[in-house]
Amino acid sequence: MVQLVDKISEIRNGKRVIVKKPELLAPAGNLEKLKIAVMYGADAVFIGGQEYSLRSNADNFTLEEIKEGVSFAKKYNAKVYVTTNIIAHNENIPGLENYLRGLEDAGVSGIIVADPLIIETAKKVAPGLERHLSTQQSLSNWRAAQYWKEEGLERVVLARETTAAEIKEIKEKVDIEVEIFVHGALCIAYSGRCVLSNHMTARDSNRGGCCQSCRWNYELYRQEAGQEIPLFSDNDVPFAMSSKDLNLLKYVPQLIEMGIDSFKIEGRMKSIHYVATVVSVYRKVIDAYCADSDHFEFKDEWLQELAKCANRDTDYGFYKGLPGYQQQLFNESRQKPSHDFAGMVLDYDEETKMVTVQQRNFFKIGDQVEFFGPNIDNFTMTVKNLYDEEGNMLDAARHPLQIVRFQVDQPVHRYNLMRKENVHAV
């Protein structure tokens, strides 16, 4: 049999080194998040433009911002993909060609697409764009992957309903780039096959109008012989259809060995703190495994680091097979993440050891804060003094985006982030 999966590894200086490193693909809800994602180690980011993207509420990119994002990413050798994965109606057809040409001119590397309308139009008017099949098509088998390969697509994003064994088989049987979701929120339905929000709120979920109707309250009954029999009692937990978030960090080595081309983190609506944390942790694990796979050891501190920005329980989704109740959330109460984003470093003076920070959440003298970033090891310290821009003493940084200074003994760098423990976290 022809070996379709590229060579994964080779021996260098007695070490087994991974030569086929997967792409780490991060969400970027706006320009600032794009920059952070790239600086914290993403090989590529996906963003939404003003139209044709499934997140109509996110502060989507204008064409100008896309250009700026692309040129910023380029400096880091990172790529920018644009989600254009709505399921279009007739009224969305006019304007599509211009929109796609604009993306091509802006220098984006590819688009993430679900509707054949957009797939074919892109090929015709913007052939420079790679086309990646969106998970909205719920691609779940190798023959469908073969179909999209023959249609000329560069990459397929698999359905989140595929198991490890299925992912592996698809990769082995079809010579096409395979992208899978490794981290983030999951739809409880097959993507593209849920129109609950259309029916309940007249908002089109397949064009970005999803209201997460699946997470609302429902009661389960049996209708039988004219009777409605409740299938719960007063002290039962109510029926729920909410998935725990996906977290495949532990399985990164397995996925690398399968030759998966791109690891995707979900969450264009997520905060800068979330994006930075998740990207940097996956970056560390991928790099550690690829540098010396035989001596790789999984460190629990990586999972602990991820937990600092998580506000929902996580699990491995369909990775090991059909999910049971353990992969769902019942009686959900919003948890707070264990840590809050407190500020972003703008500058650091090596001589005076004074840091300049832009405040993102309340903090005060005496608080324990943790710094992290792509070029430092995480460290925790206590805020001992605090000044505003004019040098006036403060007891706390109270105002959003306020610029403050204080002493940090260890060096930090621009764009390092600062978090503090959330005292009210559960």
Binding site: E166, Y190, R203
Partner: protein, 308 residues
């Protein structure tokens, strides 16, 4: 004026003849191993039988292969398609491109209808699947009358729409009901048992959504049945090719009676539109009188605006 096809869903082989008498032109059947949300299970022998009966009466049989397939089933698609081609079914309904690949390889003469339900929302995409071999596109139920008419105007393939019955709002691969019971530590029969069904009550909207599980996952259905028996004229005039009545969760008697009424409505639209105007309210009244408890009627998205 061309007469649109009246397409119905029998619950078992015994429904075929009475439905033919009631005025059905074509049938959707199949088994849940390959097809989604069918009114009944038809194994291979049943399908063969159904095709014979239907063909004797110059009626058509379409077999549903519109599941979302995972690797475990994609290699058996070929032999199933070959079987369907041999017994001369009139079309296969597909959504997953895997079926297209298998048909090209193993049953190149079989007629294909494209249906994913939710993804059939614009005319370009309908024609795209037409270029890939589909002769018909089944439209999403979440479209307005105007959108349907515009699609038809631009379509190079036949267009099928749902005119009556329940429609699916949600399909999850997960066994959500089973998982709920397991979480509670309860043993429950969650599969469809023939009598009765489960529903989700939505207190906010005071709606009841039928819900069921099968090997394709968990399916949540609309609270009301679509019924546009009194709004057919424009669609007939536009040349919509096929009108489907979906009988999932309904009794054979109900499906037969509804089929008769739609037959009448369609024939009037084609041959005597004045008379249709006269009679359409009565036709609707008759359906209202037949509705089971808990199942209201509405016009779906035909006259409803959706935003995003």
């Amino acid at each position: 004026m061309p007469v649109p096809e009246l397409l119905v869903t029998p619950t078992n082989i015994n429904d075929i003849l009475p439905l033919i008498e009631a005025g059905a032109d074509a049938f959707v059947i199949g088994e849940m191993r390959y097809g989604l949300r069918l009114a009944g299970e038809f194994n291979k022998a049943d399908i063969k039988n159904a095709v014979e009966i239907a063909h004797n009466h110059k009626r058509k049989v379409y077999v549903a292969m519109n599941a979302i397939f995972h690797n475990e089933k994609v290699e058996e698609l070929d032999s199933y398609l070959q079987f369907l081609q041999e017994i001369a079914v009139d079309a296969v309904i597909f959504g997953d491109p895997a079926v297209l690949m298998a048909a090209k390889q193993s049953a190149p003469n079989i007629r294909l209808h494209w249906s994913t339900e939710t993804l059939g929302t614009n005319w370009y995409t309908c024609n795209y699947w037409g270029r890939k071999g589909a002769k018909r596109a089944v439209l999403a139920r979440e479209l307005s009358m105007d959108e349907i008419l515009e699609i038809k105007e631009n379509a190079e393939v036949e267009i099928e729409i749902l005119v009556h019955g329940m429609s699916c709002m949600f399909q999850s691969k997960r066994p959500l009901i089973d998982n709920y019971f397991q979480f509670q530590g309860k043993q429950m029969e969650v599969r469809q048992s023939g009598q009765g069904y489960l529903f989700l009550y939505d207190p906010e909207r005071d709606n009841k959504y039928p819900v069921f599980e099968d090997e394709n996952g968990t399916h949540i259905m609309s609270a009301n049945d679509i019924c546009i028996i009194d709004e057919l004229q424009e669609l007939v005039d536009a040349g919509i090719d096929s009108f489907k009545i979906d009988g999932i969760f309904q009794s054979p008697q109900y499906i037969i009676e509804v089929t008769k009424l739609y037959r009448k409505a369609i024939d009037l639209c084609v041959h005597d539109s004045n008379q249709y105007e006269e009679e359409k309210d009565q036709l609707l009244e008759k359906i209202i009188a037949m509705q089971p408890q808990n199942r209201g009627l509405d016009t779906g998205f035909f006259f409803k605006e959706t935003v995003y």
